[in-house]
């Protein structure tokens, strides 16, 4: 069976060009970049090259890039490192209610340590009201942390405007750009961000490597203590192969950004339009304004059916997607992002994300459109919520479920 991977926001395959760049560092060029001898010298250049490649993609200088082990580490470091360094400045953080857990859980941990956190609400499209942001700012606000693009819905945040507000009030600004970098143009100068986080495995580099942009002069307490690596900003022997791969992936992303985003947007629109014309009783999650959404992302709730069971049914056809259902989140609650957008709870359980990538083809999209309507119908026919006006018991027992 042909596999159709539509879960690029979860992770992506390593691109062959990237793997090729990585392999020598597992073989002859195995040295520790801190070593002075031939083995160290063979690899230290690779780090600096990658730093340059990452910096170029986001319009930063190489010295402003620090390599970390994943997006989550970058977010932990940005938030904890800032709050600890700016302890005298204030104990207040502003973030949104739809951030990734790497930000939300870190903020929750900070609350336990006595910090105040404002979780800005979003509207039913998952969009932010900048007036809310400005109102939330106090004299004690040390950090604003707002993601560039939401991983579940693809909804974009107005990072440039937020950057202007942060600058106006002289507040440090961190953005989790894990889903944005490589998919849309990201420019740290234009956006006036101080801290920006990238994760390799979302853009064709391997799992286990990421980067954080730290604007020159930004004071941070270390998160990972130890040796002098990364100019004392992140201890631990560098993942040389992964870093070289991240550099290459950023170079490729930069070169292909235009063609990628046009192509993937066309395919995503084809999928979106196809689903909406063929499947009744569904709801788009995230902003309906396609220009304010990542070009590769579509999130839909199929009423009356639960997300995991839909995923597993699609999986039988080789189609990989993801869901905001509790069953796939590892918790008992459905996605907090759906909750923040006031998506009704069964619809939240049925939310399904299709995220496309550079290898996605029109044939794959058409195949999904072939199998999806019948799959949805099959599960609806199994659902006690569907057509329950006609069941023996009537609808009284479904009172917790509101309809579309």
């Amino acid at each position: 069976m042909k596999h159709i991977y539509l879960d690029y926001n979860a992770t992506s395959p390593v691109r062959p060009e990237v793997l090729e760049v990585m392999l020598p560092f597992y073989k002859e060029q195995f040295g520790n970049p801190s070593s002075v001898h031939w083995a160290g010298r063979q690899v230290s250049g690779a780090l600096e090259k990658a730093r340059e490649q990452v910096a170029t993609l986001i319009n930063a200088s190489p010295a402003e890039i620090v390599f970390v082990s994943c997006g989550s580490e970058g977010d932990n470091m940005a938030i904890k490192g800032t709050l600890s360094a700016l302890k005298n400045r204030g104990n207040h953080i502003i973030t949104t209610s739809v951030e990734h857990p790497a930000v939300l859980e870190t903020c929750a941990a900070m609350e336990k340590d006595g910090y105040d956190v404002t979780y800005l609400p979003v509207d039913s499209h998952g969009e932010l009201d900048l007036a809310d942001l400005e109102k939330a700012i106090t004299a004690k606000t040390a950090l604003i942390s707002v993601m560039w693009a939401n991983n579940e819905t693809g909804t974009l945040f107005p990072i440039e405007e937020i950057g202007r507000i942060a600058k106006k009030y002289n507040i440090r600004f961190h953005t989790d750009a894990v889903q944005a970098v490589g998919k849309i143009p990201v420019d740290v100068q234009k956006a006036n961000v101080d801290l920006l986080v990238i994760s390799g495995h979302k853009i064709g580099a391997p799992k286990g490597v990421g980067a954080i942009y730290i604007r020159r002069g930004t004071r941070m307490t270390q998160f990972m203590h130890g040796g002098h690596q990364e100019r004392n900003r992140r201890a631990g022997t560098q993942n040389v192969a992964g870093i070289a791969g991240l550099g290459k992936a950023c170079e490729l992303a930069g070169a292909e950004l235009d063609s990628y985003s046009r192509r993937v947007r066309t395919l995503r629109d084809r999928l979106e339009d196809g689903i909406f014309s063929q499947v009744p009783e569904i709801k788009l999650n995230g902003t309906p304004f396609r220009d304010r959404r990542l070009p590769n992302t579509l999130n839909v709730s199929f009423a009356y059916i639960e997300g995991e069971s839909l995923l597993l049914n699609l999986d039988m056809f080789g189609v990989a997607a993801s869901s905001g259902s509790a069953c796939t989140s590892g918790s008992l609650e459905p996605s907090h992002v759906m909750g923040a957008m006031c998506v009704e709870v069964t619809l939240a359980h049925s939310s399904t994300r299709f995220s496309l990538g550079p290898e996605t083809t029109a044939e794959e999209i058409d195949r999904v459109l072939d199998v999806l309507p019948a799959t949805v119908q099959r599960l609806r026919d199994m659902s006690p919520l569907y057509n329950c006006g006609r069941t023996a018991e009537g609808c009284e027992t479904c009172e917790t479920v509101r309809r579309l």
């Binding site: 069953c327 459905p334 709870v345 069941t391 023996a392 917790t400």
Partner: protein
């Protein structure tokens, strides 16, 4: 994640549907957990002649619903009341730990349906 038996019952669920003249109906779960199971019974002479189910829920919820209908059919209502969620999970060769709690309610739904039958017929 899921055993072969779970996947078999999930992909080919037995006894899906409703029984128009059911004499016992039970429902458990709630939408906020993402699992609702509804069981329809046809009981004759204290014996479960037919069972059908409808389920909103994850793979485990659908598979346990299917399995419980297979296990219940032909049993007396007393025997069926002995069926536990644990026994259903075991009949499926086990469920992932995080599914034991909230998706493994099919036996409860069966018990609710039996109680409904008893209540109606006494």
């Amino acid at each position: 994640m899921y055993t072969d038996k779970v996947m078999d019952h999930f992909t080919n669920p037995r006894n899906v549907g409703e029984i128009a003249d059911a004499n016992g109906v039970g429902e458990v779960g709630n939408a906020s957990c993402g699992d609702i199971m509804k069981i329809f019974l046809k009981v004759e002479n204290n014996i479960i002649k037919d069972v059908k189910f409808k389920t909103f829920g994850c793979g485990a919820a659908i598979a346990t619903s299917s399995m419980v209908t297979e296990m219940a059919i032909g049993k007396t209502i007393e025997e069926a009341l002995e069926l536990s969620n644990q026994a259903v999970a075991e009949a499926l060769d086990g469920l992932p730990a995080q599914k034991m709690h909230c998706s493994n309610l099919a036996a409860d739904a069966l018990h609710e349906a039996i109680k409904n039958y008893i209540a109606k017929n006494n």
